[in-house]
């Protein structure tokens, strides 16, 4: 059969592996992805995880797995609808359909053990759901995964995933040697028998596919000449923190930030630092500030509810001008909200959370690669400007994996060693440069530098003052630093031409998706460009100029806004999405927004649809006007 097999060439494909939580679809998918990476493909993976600890098995809420977007070239987001789904049961597949993640013409590869299961309910739902696929135009390939697994090992529940890996490896023409190597590495710490069994399963699946499939996919790959890495955003944050010279990560567990701390816990002690799990988020930030104050770079990592608890200490960092980096891995809010899911809901609370005037820097990396390098930049800004820097990532960056050029760094990424040299007595602890607000920190232990750092209003000597002039002065100096930083920034780059009908403005992890949608729309002739803002505070220069090149400017964000047309919503009460709100104030231009809170990344096709609709509206309005004008002309 292997001989006259049809080979279907593809530029890219979106493949999902789904099972009940605990059945190992995720492991299979990750191995598959790693293989793709090693073969030189472009790659983006995202996790499909149940929102609960132990949802009932064989239900839609139990689905666990991975989506892999696999391509010939670079991939910047998780893409649209899944084209292939390999499912361990039909409910896992159904959950993906319900999430709107699956193409109508999907290829569903499914374990057919349920077709003949003892439980009539399972038989029924299996029949119904596979039937529905076909009637929507999809294809169903039934594979006796569990049965075949049982032929190879005793516990068919635990080994199934490796069989599936082999099967999919064959289908997508993955290199069997690489697959073997990865499986071996994965089980490296286990016994020989375990390794052998799993290799046997892998090969079993591969062979089974070879024997039963009459087609294979082919996705070419161009192995890169420079070293590449595959990792998720939280790992990139963790490694970036080390490259930046942080010696302490002080944290309290919270999803989806915790895995960054796990990554650091695994390696930091071996690299001269440590992770401190504090008793709560308030303590976590307090410890980090204490360490920074004393001269050792420390950061804290958290998510929404933790950010809320850190509010008071943020004010302290601002007032005392103690350098501090906070990473906020955004999740769905408000309150506990959707703890495992993505949202970009913390922009305004990062900017304005702390009472009083508390100027700070807010930056948002837009790719997993950026997560690494942004940490170096964040530490440097924090220390040079004696400021609080908030790094906003999100659940999508946190758990998504991308393949990218291995980051480079060197000693210049690291902070200078602690300076304990004596200072002339009377040196001021806040020796503000009146133009920039910058001043040099005194580090405890420096002879002659003894001074108090206080959260009360104070003068350059660090002494408490209550008079109007000194309070005004302190505020000015803290604010001025933001202006000074802003002067060092460049205008953001426009993705696409600098003029056109529509400009989409985004921030953070939506970048890849927006750019892809823009590409598609432009290919269809729509005049649309995009801009992604790395700096949210201060805003980069040149925005107004960029915006004025377009007939319409709108943000696309993964947070809430009232929609035009919603009941009661008018020009006067519409609540805009967070960046749009900011940009309206900043530019006084009528920046519109389209935003949603689906708890998952956007798909390029959704954004494409918005682009097309908006441009049609613009064109329509123009035609309307043109009509009116010609009418008016006709009347003359």
């Amino acid at each position: 059969m292997a001989k006259n097999k049809k080979v279907i060439p593809l530029k890219e494909h979106i493949i999902e592996f789904v099972s009940d939580s605990g059945e190992g679809a995720q492991k299979a998918a990750n191995s598959f992805a790693k293989t793709c990476g090693m073969m030189g493909n472009g790659l983006w993976t995202i996790e499909v995880i149940p929102a609960e600890i132990q949802p009932p098995p064989h239900t839609t809420s139990s689905t666990s797995g991975n989506r892999i977007r696999l391509a010939e070239g670079k991939v910047t987001n998780a893409g649209d609808l899944a084209q292939t789904v390999v499912a361990f049961n039909e409910m896992a597949f159904l959950s993906r359909v319900q999430a709107g993640a699956v193409a109508d013409d999907v290829l569903l590869i499914i374990d057919n053990i349920w077709a003949t299961h003892d439980d009539p309910a399972y038989r029924e739902s299996y029949k119904k759901i596979t039937g529905d696929v076909k009637s929507r135009g999809g294809t169903v390939i039934e594979v006796p995964f569990e049965e075949e697994t049982a032929k190879i090992v005793e516990d068919s529940k635990r080994g199934k995933n490796m069989f599936v890996l082999g099967y999919m490896g064959y289908l997508y023409q993955r290199d069997l040697n690489i697959l073997r190597q990865i499986v071996e590495e994965m089980f490296a710490k286990k016994s020989k028998t375990v390794i052998q069994n799993n290799i046997a399963l892998l090969e079993g699946g591969y062979t089974y596919a070879e024997e039963h499939l009459d087609f294979r996919y082919e996705i070419p790959s161009v192995p890169s000449k420079v070293p590449m890495v595959v990792m998720n955003g939280n790992t990139a944050i963790a490694l970036g923190a080390i490259a930046a010279g942080f010696e302490l990560c002080s944290m309290y567990p919270i999803t989806p930030a915790t895995s960054a701390s796990h990554a650091l816990s695994d390696i930091m002690e071996g690299l001269g630092g440590m992770v401190h799990q504090a008793e709560d988020e308030i303590a976590a930030i307090g410890v980090a500030i204490g360490s920074n104050y004393a001269g050792k770079p420390a950061l804290t990592i958290t998510s929404g509810p933790g950010m809320a608890l850190k509010t008071e200490f943020q004010g302290l960092a601002v007032m005392t001008e103690t350098p501090l980096v906070i990473v906020d891995v955004q999740r769905g809010g408000p309150s506990t909200g959707l703890p495992t899911k993505i949202e970009q809901g913390d922009l305004l609370s990062s900017l304005f959370g702390a009472p009083g005037d508390a100027p700070k820097v807010v930056i948002a990396p837009s790719t997993i690669k950026d997560c690494f390098s942004v940490m170096i930049m964040a530490r440097k800004i924090a220390e040079e400007f004696r400021m609080l820097v908030i790094v906003l990532t999100d659940a999508n960056l946190a758990t998504g994996q991308q393949i990218f050029k291995r980051p480079e760094f060197s000693e210049v990424s690291l902070p200078p060693p602690i300076d304990l040299s004596p200072v002339p007595e009377g040196t001021n602890p806040f020796d503000w440069d009146p133009k920039t607000g910058l001043s040099r920190r005194l580090i405890p232990g420096q002879p002659g530098g003894m001074c108090v750092t206080t959260t009360l209003n104070h003068n350059a000597q660090g002494k408490v003052t209550h008079d109007a002039a000194s309070n005004q002065r302190g505020h000015e100096m803290r604010s001025r630093k933001l202006a000074a930083l802003q002067h060092t920034l460049k205008a953001p780059e426009v993705y696409g031409p600098k003029t056109g009908d529509l400009l989409i403005v985004g921030w953070g992890s939506t970048r890849g998706t927006i750019d892809e949608a823009v590409d598609r729309a432009r290919a269809e002739g729509y005049e649309v460009s995009a801009v992604n803002l790395l700096f949210l505070s201060p805003l980069q220069p040149g925005l107004k100029k960029i915006f004025s090149g377009f007939k319409k400017v709108m943000t696309i964000e993964l947070n809430y806004s009232d929609n035009w047309g919603d009941p009661l919503i008018t020009e006067e009460n519409r609540r805009y999405s967070q960046l749009a709100f900011l940009l309206r104030s900043h530019t006084l231009m009528d920046v519109d927004c389209w935003s949603r809170v689906p708890g998952r990344p956007f798909m390029p096709m959704e954004i494409h649809e918005v682009i097309v609709r908006e441009i049609k509206k613009i064109k329509g309005a123009k035609e309307e006007t043109a009509k009116l004008v010609s009418k008016a002309g006709g009347l003359k």
Partner: protein
């Protein structure tokens, strides 16, 4: 780092600095006349002078309250933080700079009310610091509200008909916390004993917690009514404990106490009248959090760190197979 001349070096590293009290004095304290805080400040300054400690090698961290103004009056490095969080800042300092001396000063509201969570966890971490609470049994700075140690029935601005609850006994609570290593009590009207207590605490490696009963003439002149000799106190005496100077003996009687015995300590702590003064519990063998953590940390130079990080990156590197 500036290179020191040999003379400077010798002076700094080996020289016997003879500091004066005023070398540790910053601005004139702004506490009320008769406030117990004054004496504690002096006691700390004397301790630093007697031990010839370089002012730059001390960090004094505080929260917010009258008591937390302490760092402003002490010419060392100081961090006047936010209400209730002094121990968190201190812990960061302790982790970062084991080479410095750390003194944490709080009020009773600061530590036992809003700061309660950090209080119990700091004791458990047992990081290396001398921690003192100036317990005037009232909120001073905000002008007379009840604190956890305000005695039942005391009229305050939030309890105009008298405080509702029996006052919290911070001593018994602390003795219940796993890893407690040093607990002592003294009072601002026992200056000699105060000095001895702070010295004993300073010598302890780990978190030495000293509760100092403190008079607040402004808002609770009645609290330790019979100031001085008449205040119902009892000194604890035990081997290696806090010395009770002869002069003190007129102020209260002495009992023998085994400060190594936790249950004994509990018993002593439970008695509030007379108030036990001295070393209540002491276990010099509890490891400090810093030591536990640092022991596991690999020391690396910069190239070593970069190499180590590269090795980590290797784990994520896909060696693309040109096939």
């Amino acid at each position: 780092m500036t290179v020191l001349s040999m003379e400077e070096f010798l002076e700094k590293e080996c020289g016997d600095h003879n500091y004066e009290l005023e070398d540790y004095e910053a601005e004139v304290p702004r506490w009320c006349k008769g406030c117990g805080d004054h004496g504690v400040l002096t006691s700390v300054q004397k301790l630093l002078r007697d031990r010839k400690i370089n002012p730059e090698d001390v960090i004094c961290v505080s929260g917010i309250g009258c008591s937390s103004r302490f760092p402003h009056y002490l010419k060392t490095y100081g961090f006047h933080g936010i209400h209730g969080r002094a121990l968190t800042l201190s812990e960061g300092v302790a982790l970062a700079r084991p080479d410095l001396h750390l003194l944490t000063v709080m009020g009773d509201g600061d530590c036992f009310s809003i700061g309660g969570n950090h209080w119990i966890h700091a004791l458990r971490y047992n990081f290396n610091a001398t921690v003192i609470v100036l317990d005037n049994e009232i909120y001073g700075l905000t002008k007379k509200q009840a604190s956890p140690t305000t005695r039942q029935g005391v009229v305050t601005n939030t309890t105009p008909k008298g405080a509702y609850l029996k006052s919290l006994n911070p001593l018994t609570l602390m003795l219940g916390v796993t890893n407690i290593s040093f607990l002592a009590q003294t009072a601002t009207w026992l200056p000699g004993h105060l000095d001895n207590t702070l010295n004993k605490a300073w010598d302890h490696k780990g978190l030495s917690f000293v509760r100092i009963l403190q008079r607040c003439p402004a808002y609770l002149s009645s609290s330790f009514e019979a100031t001085g000799p008449d205040f119902p106190a009892v000194f604890l005496e035990g081997e290696g404990g806090i010395a009770v100077d002869k002069g003190m003996l007129q102020k209260a009687s002495v009992i023998q106490h085994d400060h190594h015995n936790l249950l004994e300590a509990q018993k002593v702590a439970l008695t509030e009248t007379p108030s036990p003064m001295g070393l209540i519990y002491y276990d010099p063998n509890v490891p400090t959090y810093g030591d536990i953590r640092r022991r596991r940390i690999k020391t690396l130079d910069r190239p070593g760190l970069i190499a180590g990080l590269n090795a980590e990156l290797d784990k994520y590197t896909v060696k693309q197979q040109h096939g």
